[in-house]
């Protein structure tokens, strides 16, 4: 009786994860939207690249939902009369690229340093924390200017600046959790088994801290996209004719009372992307926690699972 039904392999295959996601309509919608965004990022320039540049003064500030200038203008046009739809599609590439790398770098760097800072009881931890304090109190605009003047403008430097300014939040959050987790018994048990620091940090502590980092990272996507646009204006980072959604929102800002759509669509795109990332991150958070996983596995109803054994 103590055998359970023919359970599948411990490591659920990719296919199965997809099947699980497809049970949750919200998560499914998020995945589909993100795939769409990624598709835009990959194929966008090739699909609509020639529509984004040339001013079309006749269509300037054209309101959305009109087909008088062709279907590409359904979302309206910006001040120079360029199709907003085309710009959204093409802008996905730079936006996603920059935001992804910036968030990724800050999560990785912040997470690593936070693990060390929380785990080490010596001077290293203290130094990392005071370093984080310094970064936190260093004005990000000044940092951007310094990078601009000393390293010059480039996308790499832009990502660098964005990542550095976001590092403290990951670092401090990681450390806070590590401070508590390292006192748990299973850490002692792992020490007793002879596990070295790396193993304890990455196999035992990190998996417990990671979900929180991912949660913050998912929201940070929006922050980073918007911060990026303000730095582009300094001359750091991507320059027109390249653009991102953030830059589109920023330029549309002056038109909120007269042509709301210029800032609205890219803002909506940022919002939906952030939202999707968050839905997925919270889905994953549940999935990654064995004590919560049933919420996903049994998501539909009891009918959805294999019939009970007598």
């Amino acid at each position: 009786m103590t055998t359970s039904a023919d359970t599948p392999e411990t490591k659920v295959s990719r296919f199965q994860i997809l099947r699980l996601i497809s049970r949750d309509w919200l998560a499914l919608a998020a995945v589909i939207f993100l795939l769409l965004v990624v598709a835009c990022a990959v194929f966008g320039p090739w699909l609509m690249g020639d529509l984004i540049d040339k001013p079309n003064f006749r269509a300037r500030n054209m309101a959305p939902f009109s087909l008088s200038q062709g279907w590409t203008y359904v979302l309206g046009a910006d001040t120079l009369g360029r199709s907003l739809l085309a710009r959204l599609v093409v802008g996905a590439q730079a936006t996603i690229g920059i935001a992804f790398f910036a968030v990724f770098c800050s999560v990785v760097i912040g997470g690593m340093l936070g693990l060390i800072a929380g785990y080490s009881r010596g001077a290293a931890g203290t130094m990392i924390m005071r370093g984080a304090d310094i970064v936190m109190s260093f004005p990000s605009l000044l940092l951007a200017l310094i990078v601009l003047f000393s390293l010059g403008p480039s996308v790499t430097n832009l990502i660098l600046v964005l990542a550095i300014t976001r590092v403290p939040i990951y670092l401090r959050t990681t450390r806070a959790e590590v401070l508590e987790v390292r006192e748990r018994m299973f850490v002692s048990a792992a020490v007793a088994l002879g596990a070295n620091h790396t193993r304890i940090l990455f196999r035992h502590i990190a998996p417990i801290v990671l979900p929180t980092l991912v949660t913050i990272g998912a929201i940070d996507f929006a922050t980073v996209v918007l911060a990026e646009s303000s730095l582009s204006f300094l001359g750091l980072g991507i320059q027109a004719p390249e653009f991102t959604w953030g830059a589109m929102v920023a330029t549309g800002r002056g038109y909120l009372s007269t042509a709301w759509w210029i800032a609205f669509w890219p803002g909506l795109a940022i919002l939906l992307t952030t939202l999707s990332l968050n839905i997925l991150s919270s889905w994953w958070r549940t999935y990654a926690d064995p004590q919560q996983r049933w919420r996903i596995e049994l998501a539909r109803s009891k009918k959805g699972i294999p019939e009970k054994r007598k």
Partner: protein, 546 residues
């Protein structure tokens, strides 16, 4: 008996659902209990005892749990028909529960005083200074020394047995009508255990408390039980008056249980001492202070948990450490493993001081010395499967086993401790208390160690499994020359298993001699008290009294 039973469980069937299918934890379990009566549930580890208890308290999360059938009725009222508020009012005030795993069932961030007081405040019985006063009283009743001082400490500052007593205190605080006690004395030494059992009996006599006691300890069972049910594989296999069941077991499993009882053969000679080999571990003058500060504002006080402790362990030898709950046994174990810093002294392993080893030496040391923690649940990473947990030593010490053989070896180890291969895919929270303890043992053995420190390693196992595990350990000792430091409160086990015994009290060794000598000729008063405190069957005491 007229009218409905005080508590009646009928046909309880509980499943645990998962993607892979449903697992039936109990099936068709029925029992009842009346005021002033003690029902003891015996049974195999993993047979659904705790699940049944949780179901009575309404603590099974559905899903993933699924109560497929059955009712629980309190004074004839179906509990499932109650509103949440009514249910809450019953819990704690009318029906209370002592959890099997007291160590993780206390909230780590609140003082135990706060947690005790809460029982009074949420039921509006007392509050403020009065609640505190009563909390202190309770602590005193369950035998925590210096309750006023310790009430403001946090759970992690208490020993296993002390935490268990705090749980007990919490359960009896409001003098409930029904007490469900799930292995309430696993972490208690015999004398404290006797004290607690006395306390329960007193409550029973005074208030007509009904007790449902889950235990694997047959002596305790016999001592407490009016009626007994025996469970196996989710079903009740035997049921009856205590004396009848003990003296005349009907079901084969019950018979195995009672026969396996080492206690049954009281006159069997203790394990004879054997010529000790070269000591592999020499402990010299170990001292340990804990810094107590119940908050950052208080001035730190110190607690002298281990005082000037010395002993040694030879290859193939088993040292039993018995002693009062809170006497520093677990602390010694943690210090020897290098998990806590010692405040003084040295521990030489093959001539090298464990407390001063560098990283490489420590790694080699930890390859050879393993520990089974008193609290197996929290000693396992909740995000790892059992396979990962058991195979972790091999990931750390790459030389032990090549990767291709891990799966087989895990299956084998699980089999040795009486678990089955399917369990490798599950996570720790999906196991019963005894099963977790066995996983911890399997992990310790995975390393092929020289010395294993077992901190109450078999306390949650039913006698049949306990025998199986002890035999396994003994076989390894004899075949491979393993040495054990065996911390336990269970005297019959050490009597049967240990070569030498150390008796501890208040952080000190009060007696240290071969097993034979200790049992034949105990020197210290405390030792004598321990040996004589073994509980006697209820029907005997009743007969004695008459």
């Amino acid at each position: 008996m007229t009218g409905p039973h005080l508590l009646e469980v009928k046909d309880l069937t509980v499943d645990f659902l998962s993607l892979g299918g449903a697992f039936r934890a109990t099936s068709g379990v029925s029992f009842h209990v009346d005021a002033g009566e003690t029902l003891v549930i015996l049974g195999e580890s993993g047979s659904g005892k705790s699940v049944s208890a949780s179901a009575v308290m309404g603590l099974i999360d559905t899903p993933p749990g699924d109560i497929c059938a059955g009712t629980v009725a309190y004074r004839g009222r179906d509990l499932s028909s109650l509103s949440e508020g009514e249910r809450r009012d019953l819990n704690g005030r009318r029906i209370a529960m002592i959890f099997q795993d007291p160590l993780s069932h206390l909230n780590p961030v609140y003082t135990i005083g706060w947690q005790l007081e809460e029982v009074f405040t949420v039921h509006g019985v007392a509050s403020g200074a009065e609640a505190r006063q009563r909390a202190v009283e309770i602590l005193g009743r369950v035998g925590i020394p210096e309750p006023e001082k310790r009430i403001d400490q946090y759970p992690h500052q208490f020993s296993g047995g002390q935490r268990q007593r705090i749980m007990i205190g919490m359960a009896i605080a409001l003098r409930p009508e029904i007490l469900i006690a799930d292995e309430p004395t696993t972490a208690l030494d015999v004398s404290v255990q006797a004290q607690i059992l006395e306390l329960l009996k007193k409550l029973q006599a005074e208030d007509g408390l009904a007790i449902i006691m889950i235990t694997h300890d047959l002596e305790v069972a016999a001592n407490m039980a009016d009626r007994v049910i025996v469970m196996k594989s989710g079903r009740i296999v035997e049921e009856g008056e205590a004396r009848a069941v003990f003296e005349n077991p009907a079901h084969s499993y019950t018979r195995t249980l009672i026969n396996a009882l080492p206690h049954a053969d009281d006159r069997a000679p203790p394990r004879p001492a054997r010529p000790a080999g070269k000591p592999i571990l020499e402990v010299k003058n170990i001292d340990k202070f804990y810094t107590l500060s119940s908050g950052i504002f208080a001035k730190p006080a110190r607690l002298h948990a281990v005082k000037n402790l010395s002993f040694d362990v030879a290859a193939g030898e088993t040292i039993g450490i018995v002693g009062e709950s809170g006497s520093g046994k677990s602390t010694v174990a943690r210090v020897l493993l290098g998990l806590n810093e010692a405040s003084g002294g040295e521990a030489l392993f093959h001539g090298r001081d464990v407390l001063k080893m560098d990283r490489k030496q420590l790694l080699a040391f930890r390859r050879k010395v393993q520990m089974v923690f008193q609290d197996p649940y929290s000693s396992m990473n909740p995000r790892m499967t059992v396979f990962d947990i058991v195979s972790e030593p091999w990931r750390i010490h790459k030389d032990i086993l090549e990767k291709t053989r891990w799966r087989d070896r895990v299956t084998e180890l699980l089999g040795l401790v009486g678990l089955n291969p399917e369990h490798a895919k599950r996570y720790p929270h999906q196991f019963s208390g005894g099963q977790r303890q066995r996983i911890a043992i399997a992990r310790a053995l995975a390393c092929d160690p020289e010395l294993v420190v077992c901190d109450e390693a078999v306390s949650a196992l039913d006698v049949s499994v306990q025998v199986q595990v002890i035999d396994l350990l003994a076989e390894l000792r004899d075949r491979l020359g393993l040495a054990y430091i065996f911390i336990t409160h269970d005297l019959p086990i050490v009597r049967h298993f240990a070569d030498r015994i150390i008796v501890m009290k208040s952080g000190e060794i009060v007696e240290h001699a071969t097993t034979e000598e200790i049992f034949r000729n105990p020197q210290h008063a405390y030792t004598r008290q321990l040996i004589n405190a073994a509980p006697k069957p209820k029907w005997q005491t009743a007969a004695d009294a008459a």
